[in-house]
Symmetry: D2
Subunit: 346 residues, 4 copies
């Protein structure tokens, strides 16, 4: 008498979408009812992603032709802007959105960073920010979950416990972030072609990446004051994985050991966050294909500074995995349902 949720996945053919499909297929409580698309209806996902050979999947259907009334939860992997517009019309009981549309509390901030008025500010005010480890009390009551961006996931897991406990100077946070190319999505940008991305490190959107206001919003809420950050993202020549290196200044009397202890105890009961010990250092291969986040704080730089390194798989904990984790929490399933697999090694 395990409960079976019927789900729809909108924007199923993109990188986040197929990862959600992949995880849903092995989740004990999920039945994929519909796979929605805006442009590829009539095709089968297997034609686009032959990796689904042998997987039982419904055909792709136009998102306007899905009967949402019979669906328990709709996941959206559609682009920002499009996502909010479409989701505002859905009748499904629950919505888990992987786009950026419901992450920023303030419509004006959204307008400023996403170059367009928010399509549905009323709905926005009802959204829960779904950084799972910090949303456990809100998720069970929510209709609309906004899944965090990939970079914010790694950065906030690194910093929120430190900010909450007043351990670091919130005016001096410097974040350097590295992502595999899958973070750039399935775009036709020449710089994402194998021949041009390979053997190159490419910083991008320096000083104006859209994850900045998202990170600052969440840090500010916990710090109870306005926090501004330095954040520089880079694409590195790998497909999956994300690593953030955050330099902080310790408040007076605080040691790096305090950071480690605080992080360890904060995540002690969280099944997906691991705080490494004994100077072991996170690297992205430790988490590839998993919903894990691996963290560690190091003494580095002048006295009073520290470095916190976090690694996640951008398409799992940074996207599809965290969406499933949020669904588990929302419906009261075990938090790890469908999400416990060891990384692919080597």
């Amino acid at each position: 008498m395990t409960r079976q949720l019927e789900i729809a996945i909108l924007g199923a053919a993109g990188y986040a979408g197929v990862n959600l499909v992949r995880l849903a297929l092995s989740h004990p409580n999920i039945k994929i009812k519909a796979l929605g698309t805006r442009r590829k209806d009539g095709e089968h996902l297997r034609e686009i992603w032959p990796q689904f050979l042998g997987s039982p999947l419904p055909p792709l259907r136009h998102i306007d032709e899905i009967d949402y009334s019979s669906v328990d939860v709709a996941f959206s992997c559609m682009p920002h802007g499009v996502s909010a517009q479409r989701l505002s019309q859905l009748t499904s009981p629950h919505i888990i959105d992987l786009s950026a549309d419901f992450r920023l509390d303030c419509p004006e901030t959204y307008a400023q960073w996403y170059d367009a008025a928010h399509p549905c500010p009323d709905l926005l005010s009802t959204a829960v920010y779904g950084l799972s480890e910090f949303a456990k009390e809100y998720l069970p009551r929510s209709r609309l979950v906004a899944c965090p961006g990939c970079y914010p996931t790694a950065v906030l897991l690194s910093l929120l416990p430190l900010v909450e406990n007043g351990l670091i100077d919130t005016t001096r946070i410097v974040i350097n972030a590295l992502s595999g190319l899958s973070g750039a999505g399935r775009s036709g940008n020449n710089s994402h072609l194998f021949s041009e991305a390979n053997e190159s490190v490419q910083p991008y959107n320096v000083g104006h990446h859209r994850h900045v206001p998202e990170i600052e919003q969440e840090l500010s809420k916990r710090a109870k004051k306005t926090v501004s950050i330095s954040f520089t993202p880079h694409l590195v020549p790998m497909t999956r994985g994300e690593l953030t290196t955050t330099v902080v200044e310790l408040c007076s009397g605080v040691s790096v050991d305090d950071l480690q202890t605080t992080l360890s105890s904060r995540y002690d009961c969280d099944p997906f966050v691991y705080v490494l010990q004994d100077d072991a250092c996170p690297s992205t291969d430790m988490v590839r294909g998993t919903n894990n986040c691996v963290l560690s704080a190091f003494s580095a730089g002048p006295p009073g500074q520290a470095v916190i390194i976090a690694a996640i798989d951008n398409l799992v904990k940074g996207a599809a995995g965290q969406a499933i984790q949020n669904m588990n929490l929302l419906f009261g399933f075990p938090e790890t349902a469908g999400l416990k697999s060891a990384p692919l090694m080597p």
Copy 2:
């Protein structure tokens, strides 16, 4: 009342070993009783492979200090030579060997290709060659299973049905094989360093790869005559995956469609072998991380010739996955138990 097998994995820290551990951890019928090593006893596998964070695993123990009497099946991922020598002393009821030691029927052939006398020719005569799809009738009765090499797995799945049905000229088989670097193991060879393997294709052991006699032996058995092949392996700059491109000459009156039909019907009931249709072409990303083999035959070259392309993950269907599949068949578990996951995309 699901039966739980207690297993030991010897040579657990190498590439095949950790993949076996990974698969065993999510298998519903397996309890890992012991992880054996020759050199790293006293360490924990997590110290070598931090990817196992959070996985419940016993510590590494020296292979001589494991109590095999309480183990249902011992898997060996030890190097050839070592493997046979140690396995000949084991008392466990069943042995599944991933080394090359029990693949060749004839000790003289072994001596010729492996530069040493076979350590236990008596035991050799009891081994079943565990190409799962062709061993289903023998596995349930076996004590010792010799898992095929990675290249032989892809090549034999491509060719055995064609040879059995007399569709191709067995005197003119040309195989070109490509493998990711993990196929070369965890050796210290400079040419396997990232900086030297990256951006390079490296043919190796041209004319004398040890998988040649293994392929020829199995083809000869099915053809009921001596078959000799041309086989050229290459390392390509990727971690996982293997692709074989086999050129054959059709027997008189045989068409490429006949090859496709024969392959499709032969593997119709096999859950891990997929014969693509409509000129879809296998590539290694289709199978990465899975136990699948994807196959297709093409009309190519002068009239009367064809090309058969096969893709596998060298560490799963080419090693650890097939070992588990053989265990499933040996003990009467569902063939796919612990082995059904969609590939990591992209």
Copy 3:
């Protein structure tokens, strides 16, 4: 009083084009007079390829607005079809075409493989096939040089001396070819995105690659009879480099040593073709960034068979480098002018 040629490069912004620009910049006898484009006129090549920082280059101009009368030689890196159409209108004394348009002698064969009637069959009949090592007597007299395809370059350098000397069975030639992604050009195909090409081997155009008729034409001319081949190309996850593995059957009484000797003596005076000795095996890192072709023949397969392996850089000896080499031969410059650099290591 070194002679300075004034050259135009048409299609300068693609992969072959920028490699031609790069080589031209360091050639002692070349002055780049014009860089032509069909779509990017008004831009500077440095805006598209910032690698040209500091290099003195004229701006990109529309190919119709270049004064060809003042140019000694025009190189075309435009796509097939377009190239022939435009080149038929040029007035420059010499043309070196890197497209496929003037490689096939017979307009009907062109129509069959390129899906369109040849734009200028009259001009076609005047073209010299510019496989440099085999065109040295024709190039000095030529107005129009058709540079070979990348695969044909590697394959023909492997086989022509053997075919000319009657050493191999021309009815049984099996070629397996591997290319880096740059061989696929700057297209927007999803399968060429880093995230989808990385960690994958992708066979393509199996049985119908357009280099097949080109290879067959040249082999047939030397063999003085119709030669048909089996040719299977694959994309492997690297940017540059091409490796061909050719399996042949030896004529009666011929040994692999005979092949080696024939190849060695044939290329003894050719500065860019190296025949390795002592079982050393070509790999693409040996030639990356150079105009070299590295070759070797191996005893492999059943008695009477051999394997010949060849490695080139697809964008140098397979494209821009050979074009310069042809220019050197055409104008009587030293064959290696502007082309002698050691590979980038590692």
Copy 4:
């Protein structure tokens, strides 16, 4: 009557060594007199690096058996410790050392970071720190040049002009650094194997990388006060290339435009340093295979902060190229002699 220097390269078979050999081969004023090695004497460099096919090179000789009296300049690519010990015995008129042995002015600092007393503190006091763009007045008088580390080269080119002009707060410098695997040398570390480095970002030596004291020393000299930095290096899955992202706080009244202007004017006459304009962003593909450093400053982070990004090829400007540049400056050759080639694209 161009002057020909006779040079010896010690430690010729490592990554820095072969890059020095490669550049020396095409330098108009260099004759390679000797290639020294500690372990491979008797071999030929071509046996280890077949890329040197066709290059005229002397055989490898033991470093103790080279006649240094006939050599104008000896380059050392030997490991630290070994290098100083051996160089202290050399009789050659000039020495250019690529190891870390003569970079730190103070033997005590050396002892602290390199775990051993300095082998020859007297010689140390005579060394010139060869960051070419800042050493032009000292190099012509020098006997011993210490080439900077790869990271210090990129970081110091980013920061020295800003520190000299008092534009940034020297107490708050945060550097994040990325290097290709060739930066780790030809070691047998498992984490540098293709299969384990590929698809992973690996931070290393967090808080205690040996380039920290070197960077701090040079910054302190220019700032005329003690400067401490935060520096976190990472290995990213590519062979060549290095990118540093440096976050600084601007002094009161200073703008990012001031940084750009200062950098641009400082390097205006330096042939290898390019300051990008118009928000163009450095990436490592812009400099692969060249001696160039590409720089740019960006407005990013909270008001008053900026980011400076620099890209170099770690084996050229970060090692062998800068060594040649220093030789050019030492002997009065044109600074760019033997060093002007466009990057390999794509």
